[in-house]
């Protein structure tokens, strides 16, 4: 992914492989038998998605932790 400095949520990102601009796309995530979706920037050509550090270290970790037993 090639970020630019637009400052928009998700960024004005382009796909490093296809050079297409990423578009907000409803994307499915699975963990321990549970499935969720959220909107993340994705390449309209190859489907590669960009997961921001904020999402990965924030909400995703919270959800994963809640699904793991003690």
């Amino acid at each position: 992914m090639n970020p630019d400095d637009s400052g928009e949520p998700g960024g004005n990102l382009t796909c490093g492989r296809c050079q297409a601009r990423l578009e907000p796309t409803k994307t499915q995530f699975s963990y321990l038998g549970h499935s969720f979706h959220t909107e993340v920037p994705a390449c309209p050509v190859c489907g590669q998605v960009f997961i921001s550090e904020e999402l990965a270290r924030g909400r995703m970790v919270e959800v994963e932790t809640s699904l793991e037993d003690k």
Binding site: L32, F36, H37, G58, R59, V63, S66, L67, D69, K70
Partner: protein, 437 residues
């Protein structure tokens, strides 16, 4: 091919003289029984599992006693080098006085008056065992809310670094004194463990000697006003309220998010008990779980309960859920945890598990997710992240041991400890009461 007959060696006690004796978990009359012989008082067989669930499967992660058993266990208790678990929850008795005193069963046999230790003494005890940012403290008694200075004890515990502070209560004071509830919340109380045996007054008349349903409802309501989570704690007695398990779960879920779960406790015979306990039988852990599965099927939706990871599997079970918008339970865990006996930090993990579920997030909404549900409900990651904090719910149970079914392998894995007279003692050793001759 037939399965080999069960014969597991452990140690137990004579129920009459409490002498330590070799014992065996063995099959008898379709049940698993704890069997032992006292040279003076004879042979005893007590059912501990009635084969409503697979015993071997349920107990396969247990930490076996083997050669590590301390020959002085439990008479020299404090925790010894043979004890397997660190402290998950530390119970502190802050009084022996009680404002109820009509209970048919009371592990603490609370009745004395005006014997509460001075605040200075309680604070001194706290200083000796509190580990900053770790300790899960349960304030118990007697009835702790008979103390006017309980909010000061909570404040001291918080100042000393307790991570979670839980109040074990019958709810009478919380129902009748809103300012007292406010003071507890302002002092840093984390959540409330509310004696709650059923949803009808008849149950309370039989177990507590008076009608109490109104009291329980007001106590929950008042806790809700100050963002205090409440866990309902039924004492389950055969023939009294073992047919009300589903009602209790449904009632609890209907009061989510204030009510954070139900923690079932099959009756055990310690402290104040009726003269003839044979009338009340032995409700085993598997019977209790079967009752929950059958009576709460509509709301559980096939979800499973799992063995305790922190204590011995025969001591407890748990299930973690989110309450959905339409009042159902969404199960967070779908597979039994594996290899829990190798977790050296089982107590810490359990403490965080419980604390995170029973404590409500700060009032004013969650800062980390989307509070409003959309058409996709819990399938939306943001909504799920928010809901799992705001509407967490647990169904758990703990089967305490008494002189009639004490298994020292279970005792060695106990993580619920009582601080008393400078010693840290497993709960069931602290309240052990001989069952008469």
């Amino acid at each position: 091919m037939t399965e080999e007959r069960l014969a597991e060696r452990t140690y137990s006690l004579c129920p009459v003289c409490l002498r330590r004796v070799p014992a065996e978990r063995a099959e008898r009359d379709g049940a698993i029984c704890l069997e032992r012989t006292c040279g003076e008082h004879g042979f005893f067989s007590t059912p501990i599992w009635k084969n409503r669930l697979d015993f071997r499967e349920w107990t396969k992660e247990a930490v076996r006693l083997g050669s590590r058993s301390n020959p002085d266990c439990p008479s020299s208790c404090g925790l010894c080098a043979s004890h397997v678990r660190d402290t998950c929850c530390m119970l502190l008795e802050v009084t022996h006085e009680c404002d109820l005193r009509s209970c048919r069963f009371c592990f603490a046999d609370a009745h004395k008056k005006n014997d509460a230790p001075a605040l200075k003494q309680v604070t001194g005890w706290l200083r000796r065992f509190v580990k900053p940012r770790q300790t899960f403290l349960q304030l118990s008694g007697g009835e702790p809310t008979t103390r006017e200075d309980l909010p000061e004890i909570v404040a001291d515990a918080r100042r000393l670094g307790c991570k979670y502070i839980q109040l074990n209560t019958n709810g009478i004071r919380l129902a009748n004194d809103l300012e007292y509830v406010r003071a507890l919340a302002d002092s840093g109380l984390s959540f409330v463990f509310l004696q709650f045996d059923g949803t009808d007054d008849e149950t309370y008349r039989r177990l507590r000697g008076r009608e109490m349903m109104g009291v329980k409802q007001r106590a929950i309501e008042n806790c809700g006003r100050f963002n205090l989570g409440v866990t309902l704690v039924p004492t389950v007695v055969q023939g009294v309220n073992d047919d009300r398990l589903g009602d209790i779960v449904r009632f609890a879920v209907s009061l989510s998010p204030v009510v954070r779960g139900v923690h079932f406790q099959p009756v055990c015979y310690m402290g104040r008990i009726p003269g003839d306990i044979s009338a009340y039988g032995r409700l085993t852990l598997d019977e209790l779980m079967e009752g929950i599965y059958l009576q709460a099927e509509d709301i559980l939706g096939g979800a499973e309960l799992f063995p305790s990871c922190c204590d011995h599997p025969l001591c407890g079970f748990h299930g973690a859920f989110v309450v959905t918008d339409d009042g159902k339970l969404y199960a967070l865990h779908r597979e039994k945890p594996q290899n829990t006996d190798c977790c050296a930090d089982a107590a810490r993990r359990n403490r965080e598990f419980i604390g995170s579920k029973w404590q409500r997030p700060p009032a004013g909404g969650c800062c980390c997710g989307d509070d409003e549900t959309g058409p996709d409900g819990l399938a939306d990651l943001g909504y799920f992240a928010s809901r799992v904090k705001s509407h967490s719910f647990t169904i758990s149970g703990m089967a305490f041991q008494d002189a009639g079914n004490m298994d020292l392998e279970r005792l060695a894995s106990c993580s619920l400890h009582v601080y008393r007279d400078g010693a840290t003692v497993p709960f069931c050793a602290r309240y052990l009461t001989p069952l008469g001759s």
